[in-house]
């Protein structure tokens, strides 16, 4: 039989919880309702509703935009894998200490400085139009491939730094212990340091992937028919912006689940409750 004191405490806890929920609900209604009211009562709303949120336009354009969106999905899946590999390679070269690696180390530093420092859209332009202009045999000429290469360069530079931070965060004693049991430096990295580093940086890595997934739209400037481009084309024919909203929803459909995954990995404090 719980004591009266305990029952009293539990009742107080329940009251506090109910009051918290009531306040959360009320403030949500006020804030969200206020924003909705502001938008819906604005003088331009009827026009905006017709040009951005037309159900007929949505139904007509959605299949085409969705079909084009598959290209985005394919590109980011391939680029994500490439970025994981290239980023790791650049990070490993950058932390390697052997003197023979010096020129490679310089290249790795230059790689990060260069590709992280140039706006992604500019990089897509330069690779997309610059590489074919070289007229070298064997270089890709497909705009999609060139766009994917540009995205890989840009994101690998970020991801290399994420990996490097992770590797540096693993305590030096771990490397020492690995060497002490007779492993080589490379084995110590592979079996002891890297597994711990990758686990630690998984949330920021996924965060970069959220950014990458929407930046795939940038390859549209080279011409490939991905979701944003397709939506623009329909918009140019109908003068209605609903297809762009449809494209936006598709991007959200992949980035939001990824963002929730990042929250979950980062611990409960990041999650929406």
């Amino acid at each position: 039989m719980p004591s009266d004191r305990r029952l009293e405490r539990e009742a107080a806890k329940r009251r506090r919880h109910r009051r918290g929920q009531a306040i959360a609900a009320l403030s949500s209604v006020v804030v969200l309702g206020g924003i909705a009211a502001l938008v819906l009562t604005s003088p331009g709303w009827p026009t905006v509703r017709e040009t951005f949120f037309s159900w007929t336009e949505f139904k007509d354009s959605f299949p085409d935009v969705l079909r084009a969106f598959w290209l985005d999905v394919k590109v980011f899946l391939v680029v994500e894998l490439a970025v994981l590999a290239v980023g790791l390679l650049v990070a490993l070269v950058r932390i390697a200490r052997s003197p023979a690696m010096f020129p490679l180390r310089l290249l790795a530093v230059a790689f990060v400085d260069l590709f992280r420092g140039i706006p992604t859209i500019l990089l897509v332009f330069m690779v997309g139009f610059g590489v074919p202009a070289l007229e070298l045999s064997g270089t890709p000429s497909e705009p999609v491939v060139l766009g994917a290469i540009a995205l890989t360069l840009s994101y690998s530079a970020y991801v290399a730094e994420v990996y490097r931070a992770g590797i540096r965060s693993v305590h030096r004693g771990q490397r020492d212990a690995a060497l002490a049991v007779g492993l080589t430096e490379a084995q110590a990295m592979r079996h002891v340091v890297l597994p711990q580093a990758v686990r630690r940086v998984a949330p920021p890595l996924l965060n970069d992937f959220v950014a990458l997934q929407k930046d795939v739209a940038l390859i549209s400037i080279l011409g490939p028919l991905e979701a944003f481009r397709e939506a623009q084309i329909i918009n140019a024919q109908t003068f209605n912006f609903t297809p762009l909203v449809a494209a936006a929803l598709l991007y959200l459909a992949v980035t939001v689940p990824m963002a929730r995954l990042v929250d979950r990995m980062g611990g409960p404090e990041g999650a929406v409750r």
């Binding site: 004693g173 020492d176 212990a177 060497l179 002490a180 084995q187 079996h191």
Partner: protein
């Protein structure tokens, strides 16, 4: 290769080591004979850890030589990896691999450095963990083990490679007092087997019991060396007496 009983397994001659301007070791001469346990005592910061790290080639010495079975291991031409495979080092803070189970910690070196198959390494690993009282904890990660259990896993890991000499670096000083006993028991067990050991320690009772020789390290030099009875009961040097009386006041001797 194998030295007879009483021959020098590990020999240090004139070891010096400085970190920048700070001279940590200023000419260390020390011999650890086969089957012998040598206790290295001295205040924090006297260079005990640095010395053990230098022997395991985790730090590069500035001058002098370390001989393992008569062969210099501190020559720049010697492959440090091959040397470390003949030595074992147990760290003060255990340094277990947190992403691996206790068993995997013990198996890693055997598989990757000593070329054992998974089955061989696993069989040996299980036997070693059982020997140090860890049967049933094979699949636990280090953070599910007590400090004493973690340190025993670390001892099993260092011992797995059948080292010629086992280096123990203050292996009980990160432990809660009630966990010290179980770790020292593991070392006693190794001593009984005839393991050659160099033990940096603050546990004087233990040094008295297990060590054949005690060396007192002070400001980077070995100030006094002898049997435990000589050094701990009848120290000749003023600094040794002062160090021991400080330990006595702290209730550690």
């Amino acid at each position: 290769m194998s030295a007879g009983a009483g021959e020098a397994a590990l020999e240090l001659r004139g070891i010096t080591k400085a970190f920048g301007e700070r001279e940590v070791l200023r000419g260390i001469d020390l011999t650890v004979r086969e089957h012998e346990a040598v206790a290295l005592i001295g205040a924090s910061g006297s260079g005990k850890s640095t010395l053990l790290r230098c022997i395991d080639l985790l730090e590069e010495i500035d001058d002098g030589d370390v001989f393992l079975d008569g062969e210099t291991i501190t020559d720049p031409a010697v492959d440090p990896v091959a040397v470390r495979r003949r030595l074992g080092l147990v760290f003060q803070a255990y340094n277990l691999f947190p992403h691996m189970t206790a068993l995997e910690n013990v198996m890693l070196g055997e598989r990757r450095a000593h070329g054992k198959t998974r089955a061989e390494a696993e069989e040996q690993g299980r036997a070693l963990l059982a020997r140090f009282g860890l049967a049933g904890r094979e699949d636990d990660r280090p953070d599910n083990l007590s400090g004493g259990q973690q340190q025993r896993v670390a001892i099993a890991r260092a011992f797995a490679g059948r080292p010629r000499v086992l280096l123990l670096d203050e292996i009980t000083s990160a432990l809660d007092p009630e966990l010290v006993g179980e770790v020292l028991e593991a070392v006693r067990d190794l001593k009984k087997e005839g393991m050659t050991m160099l033990i940096a320690t603050h546990e004087m009772t233990f040094a008295r019991e297990v060590a054949d020789q005690v060396a007192f390290l002070h400001e980077g030099r070995i100030l006094e060396q002898g049997t435990p009875a000589q050094v701990l009961e009848a120290p000749q040097q003023e600094e040794t007496r002062r160090f021991l009386s400080r330990l006595l006041q702290a209730g550690r001797a």
